[in-house]
C-alpha cells in the first residue's frame, strides 16, 4: 500500500481571532499553529492502512510557506515515512491549490490519497474532492469508517438522519471526518526518528484563480443574554419569555 496524506497547518482551535492590518486575513502574532484536526484522522488512517497491508509507504504532502515543514514533521513523528513540502503561496481559490496537489500526486502510484474533511481555518471543504476529480479517481468525502480489502474500499459517511454506505475500487481519494479513528500521539521515539526522515522541498507556483477575499470581519456579537433566574422556580419566567418575547414556542 502506498498512501499519501495532504496536510495543512491551522491556528489552534482555541485561538482568539484578531483581524490583520490587511483587513482580509488574520493577525498571526501569538497564534499557535497545529496540524488541521481532520488531517490527523487522515494521518492515522494512512499509518493504519500501511500497517494492515504489512508493507508500503506513507507520504505526507503540504503546500504552503516554510512554516508548513514543522507541521509535516509532526506527521513524521506520528509515523509517516516521508514528507514533501510543495513550497509556494496557496491561492484563495481552492481549485488552484487542488491543481497543484493533483499535479504532484499524479503518477505517484498511490493506492489511496487522504485528506481532512475540511481545514478549520478557511473552511474550504473542497480540496480532496477536487483533487479526486482532477485525477479522475473515485472519491468518498467525510468518511467515518474505512475498510480496505481485496483492492476495494468500503466506507460510511454521516448524512442528515442516518449513515450512507459506499464502496469503490482503489486507487481512490478519501476525506476524513471525526469518528474515523483516534489519532495516535507522536511518541518521544517518533519525534527523534522524525528528525532523520526525508523531507523533500519542491518549489511550486499556484495560479491566482477566480476568487478574491474582499474582507475578513468579526461576526456581530450576540446581544448580552440574561439570567432568568435560579432553579426550577425560573421555569415559568423562561416559558413566558420563550412564548411572548422570543416567540419560539
Amino acid at each position: 500500500m502506498k498512501i499519501a496524506v495532504c496536510l495543512r497547518r491551522v491556528p489552534d482551535t482555541t485561538a482568539k481571532i484578531v483581524i490583520g492590518a490587511s483587513g482580509s486575513s488574520i493577525d498571526e502574532a501569538g497564534i499557535k499553529f497545529v496540524p488541521n484536526p481532520y488531517d490527523e484522522y487522515a494521518v492515522e488512517a494512512a499509518i493504519a492502512l500501511k500497517e494492515q497491508a504489512g508493507a508500503g509507504e506513507t507520504v505526507v504532502v503540504g503546500l504552503g510557506g516554510d512554516t508548513v515543514q514543522e507541521t509535516l514533521r509532526t506527521a513524521l513523528a506520528m509515523g509517516v515515512d516521508r514528507a514533501v513540502h510543495l513550497q509556494g503561496a496557496p491561492s484563495a481559490d481552492g481549485l488552484e491549490n487542488a491543481r497543484v496537489l493533483a499535479d504532484h500526486l499524479r503518477g505517484g502510484g498511490y493506492d489511496a490519497i487522504l485528506f481532512g474533511k475540511l481545514a478549520v481555518d478557511d473552511y474550504g471543504q473542497q480540496t480532496g474532492a477536487m483533487v479526486a476529480e482532477l485525477l479522475e479517481l473515485p472519491c468518498a468525502t467525510a468518511i467515518t469508517k474505512l475498510v480496505v480489502a481485496d483492492g476495494r474500499a468500503s466506507v460510511e459517511r454521516e448524512v442528515e438522519g442516518g449513515v450512507e454506505p459506499a464502496s469503490c475500487a482503489l486507487p481512490a481519494v478519501f476525506t476524513c471526518d471525526k469518528g474515523l479513528n483516534n489519532p495516535r500521539l507522536p511518541s518521544l521515539k517518533g519525534i527523534m526518528a522524525a528528525k532523520k526522515k526525508p523531507l523533500e522541498i519542491t518549489p511550486v507556483t499556484v495560479a491566482a484563480g477566480g476568487v478574491t477575499i474582499v474582507s475578513l470581519a468579526l461576526p456581530p456579537e450576540r446581544a448580552a443574554g440574561r439570567i432568568v433566574g435560579e432553579g426550577a422556580a425560573a421555569v415559568p419566567a423562561l416559558m413566558q419569555l420563550l412564548t411572548a418575547e422570543a416567540k419560539v414556542i
Binding site: Y38, E160, V163, V211, G225
Partner: protein, 321 residues
Amino acid sequence: MANVLAVLEIRGGTLRKGAAELLAAARRIADAAGGTVDALVCANGAVDTSALGAAGADRVLHATHADFATYCPDGMSATAASIASQYRAMVVAATATGKDLAPRIAARANVPCAMDVTSVDAAGDVIRVVRPVYAGKALQTVELRGTAVIAVRPGAYAAVSASKGGAVESVATPAFTRRLEVGAIKTSDKGALDVAEARVVVSGGRGLGDPKHFALLDELAAAFGGEAAVGASRAVVDAGWAEHGAQVGQTGKTVAPELYIAVGISGAIQHLAGMRTAKVIVAINRDKDAPIFKVADYGIVGDLFEVMPALTAAVKAAKGH
C-alpha cells in the same frame, strides 16, 4: 449568462426539504443579475416538482438515469458540469450531500467553489458571498469571477413565493463512469430528525453525569412534538454517551435552529462554533460563570436534574399535551 442553476437534492425518490430555501438564494442572484432560475433534478424516474415554480424556478430540468436511484456524485456532477457554461452560478444546499457534490461540480466545470455561504449577491461580473470561517469566529467576504459553484448553508435564506412557471424539461445525462457506488441511507434508530435540520435542538453535556440521563433530554425533545432533536457536546460523544451524528460544534455539526437548549454544557469555544447562529439560545447550568451564559439569550442557573422535569412539564402544557 445571468442565469442560475439550483441543483436539488433527492432522497428516496422525493425532493428533500430545503429545495425552496435554495431556490430563494438562486433567485437572489438571478434577480440581481437579470436572469432566470433553472432547477436541476437528477432522479431515477418521475419526481413531484409541482411546488418548485411557486418557490422560484422558471424551469425544472429533469435528468434521468438508473444510477440516480441512490446518491450518485459522479453522474450528478457530470450532468451539472455539462450545462455549466449556460450559467452564472450553480447553487447547491450545503448539506452533507451538497457539500460532497459542490466541489466535484466545480472541478469538472473548471470553476471556483464557495462553501457554506450565508449570503449571496451579484454585481457586474462578480458574485459576492459571505461565509463563516475559523469555526464561525470570523466572516469572510469573497468575490468569485465567472461562473461559480456556491453551497448555501441551510437556514440562510427563507423560502419566497415567486409564481414562476416551473415547466419541466428533460436534460440529457452525459456519459459518466460510476466510480463511487453509494448505497441506501441507513436511518438512525433515533428517527429521521437530525440536529442539523430540527427547529428545536436540546443538547446535553458532561453535566448530565451519566448516559442514562439523556432520557431527560429525550423527554424534553418529545414534549416539542416531533420538531426537536437531541444533540450533544463532544465530551459526551467521546465518552460514548451519544452518537457522533449528534455532536454539535467545530468537529461536529453546525446547527442553526430557532431554539437551542444547552443542558449541562459549559460552552467551550469549539461547541459555540456549532450553535452560535441559533435564533434563540437557552442555557441550563449550575455554574453561573459558565461561558455558555455569554451567548445564551436566556439562562437558568441551577441543577439540571431539578430544572429539566419542570421545563418538560411546562413545554408539554404549552404545547397542549
